[in-house]
Assembly symmetry: none
């Protein structure tokens, strides 16, 4: 089964927005056995939309379209879809009720320009958008399905996972595709791939391994495609997933297609391990990643960003002599920050970061990207230095992944606990 | 002048790589008056490439193509371009000399598999790639230009700026396109659009306005296209940009296509206004957005995340009676947090947040998305409640934009200072 993606919006063409939705669709549709044949980005013009639609449907039976559904007049997707499907508008009562609810909750008056968001092409079925105002639209004519979604990434994720994927599975006969994903931190893709050469060579044809790298993190996704049910049981994906874990056992951070920070924070909640952070170069990013799990307040009282040296000494009790002798970017300072913040908040575990995120502040001895990370509990402590590369934002992201990895080392975190 | 972009590579279609080159081309070509009519991503297959090329050249005279030029066997762009242009290969002496130089510098032997990188379609002109091995290729046949570039972003930037842009300027008579962008916070796109109806109606045909919304933020972009020099001076974009600002003067946060947090942090640095935050529901996100500017350490000593009530009282001096009487999510608590953290860090300005980010913790009186934000200086303070919607992440992002907006109100921030 093949599909095409059409993204609508001048902001993509003039380069004001980087298109992340397309990569998301590639992953999501790939996950249910639909491969993307082509992606097309076009402008907010009716003729461009009509042309792209006709061309796409000449090649495939499924088109996913995003963008152009807001209330302002430069959003013309709906009007053009009425032209394409030769139908008028209908006011959708469910969408109208949802809009009314949103406006009431915000204590704002609903204007006629808002109400028109409930007007949709008569031939479509609306897909309830619980996180936004514009509904998704599902057109099914002559065996060809068009799904039209808003362009806001959060709304795309919600509508795709809650509405579109289940409807596609019900509509089309799709192969069974299963995935098993694990997360590694700190080891480069090239080293992992060399280590996994024998494993990859051993894979039967219906299994494949993909490397999904980001900052100091590589997700490994093992996929199994079953067109029919004649795959022998001994070749099944779970057996190979165990072999994969065994081949790189030291490098596995956690199992599942999950943000490792979310995995760690759920582990801390489930095991009632309270924690805090004292961050210099990462500016609160480690804490922010760890506080995303609902229920985190049970184990997270709060944390401190300690940029200035005065804050490191006054708030964290870092001895001024340490900063004067070794500098704020030093193993001694990182450990003192971690121990200081742990005592301050009276928690089980503390993480501290101090380094040069750049672009300024680097020296020959301590260049941009040079970062110390310390983690400690009441009985143990650990500090490591890292030389990370990239711009300021990337160094902060890489530092936060390094911090997660260090917590795993200190707590001897299991990789297979439920996440 | 219109162009199309074709990107080649399965990694884009399956979502393994996010396409950043396309946005880059949009910006670069837009800057010299070439607008991108369409962007198409296709797989590494000859027929897909041939089809996409023929279709693109049926619509425009300029096509930029990236990807598929490496030495491995799944890179078939060159072979396919020989088919398309009905020509054979020639070995390019300049490319060969460049390759020999690279291999000599690395102390490695050049193999025949490396030398074939110097073989290019006979009809193309090569574009010297100083930062990589694969040359760019320029085809100019029957008034239609095809530029084929490698996919590596660093090589794309080098070849585009040093080779492609100068050749395009020499080849085509180009219009001038200019953009003026401003950022608004807190007002809905639909309300802005109603307010701007007279302004939009007044725009001459060579000017256009686009709305680019995200969480409680709308960027407004005014664009001017001048095909020749007969536009009267009084119609110029800067005059209309002033009119645009006047039409929504209360809602403009800052001028320029800029993250408002970066704008604000640069303003604080330039005006030597030190600041800190005490964050509950936003978990450090406000501070993190504000510390992205290089040089921020001059005005930002650090900040506190105060999740637990004990941290609010012990670290920020919030009177326990306030929390018991009004609750932690209250105007009184938010103001006490802001004043407490300002004194703690001895800074000019403090921001405090307390609210229900969800998914749990909501009540009928204080539902998920109900957030108090307080800002204060030594002499002034301000607190407002907000009812924000979306998931946890979106509520945090919307809260942070609301906090920026409140700082503007308190400091009576000018919108036109250099950012």
């Amino acid at each position: 089964m093949e599909a095409e993606i059409i993204t609508i919006g001048d902001e993509l063409l003039i380069g004001q927005t980087i298109d992340t939705n397309s990569a998301y669709f590639g992953q999501q549709l790939g996950g249910i056995g639909i491969s993307i044949k082509r992606k097309t980005a076009i402008s907010d013009h009716a003729q461009a939309i009509l042309d792209a639609l006709a061309e796409a449907f000449s090649r495939v039976d499924l088109v996913i379209m995003t963008g152009g559904l807001g209330p302002t007049k430069d959003d013309i997707t709906k009007k053009t879809l009425c032209t394409y499907y030769q139908c008028g508008y209908r006011r959708d009562e469910n969408v109208l009720a949802h809009l009314a609810q949103i406006f009431e909750a915000r204590g704002r008056l609903m204007l006629e320009t808002n109400q028109v968001q409930a007007d949709v092409p008569a031939l479509c079925e609306t897909l309830h958008n619980a996180v936004g105002t514009a509904p998704g639209m599902w057109f099914d004519r002559n065996g060809k399905v068009l799904v039209s979604l808003p362009g806001v990434p959060g709304e795309v994720y919600h509508l795709t996972e809650e509405r579109v994927i289940p409807k596609l599975k019900a509509k089309f006969p799709l192969p069974t595709i299963q995935h098993r994903t694990l997360v590694t931190l700190q080891k480069a893709e090239s080293l992992l791939s060399r280590q996994l050469e024998p494993f990859e060579a051993s894979l039967p044809p219906h299994l494949s391994l993909a490397y999904l790298p980001s900052f100091n993190m590589v997700k490994l996704r093992l996929s199994q495609t079953i067109q029919n049910s004649d795959i022998p049981e001994s070749d099944d994906i779970d057996r190979y997933f165990v072999l994969l874990q065994q081949a790189i056992v030291e490098d596995v951070f956690c199992l599942g297609d999950i943000d490792p920070a979310l995995y760690l924070s759920k582990y801390l909640i489930n095991n009632n391990i309270s924690f805090t952070t004292a961050e210099s170069c990462t500016g609160g990013w480690v804490a922010h990643r760890l506080m995303q799990a609902p229920g985190i307040s049970a184990v997270y009282p709060g944390s401190l960003v300690a940029y200035a040296n005065e804050v490191k000494s006054q708030e964290l009790g870092v001895d001024r002599a340490i900063i004067e002798t070794y500098g704020a970017v030093s193993e001694n300072c990182a450990l003192a920050m971690a121990n200081g913040v742990r005592e301050k908040f009276g928690v089980d575990l503390a993480i501290a970061t101090t380094g040069i995120a750049g672009p300024g502040g680097g020296s020959k001895e301590k260049p941009v990207g040079f970062v110390y990370i310390a983690v400690c509990t009441a009985n143990e402590q650990m500090c490591k230095s890292f030389r990370l590369f990239g711009n300021r934002e990337q160094i902060i992201q890489r530092s936060s992944n390094a911090a997660l990895w260090m917590v795993k080392q200190l707590l001897k975190l299991p990789t297979d606990s439920a996440a």
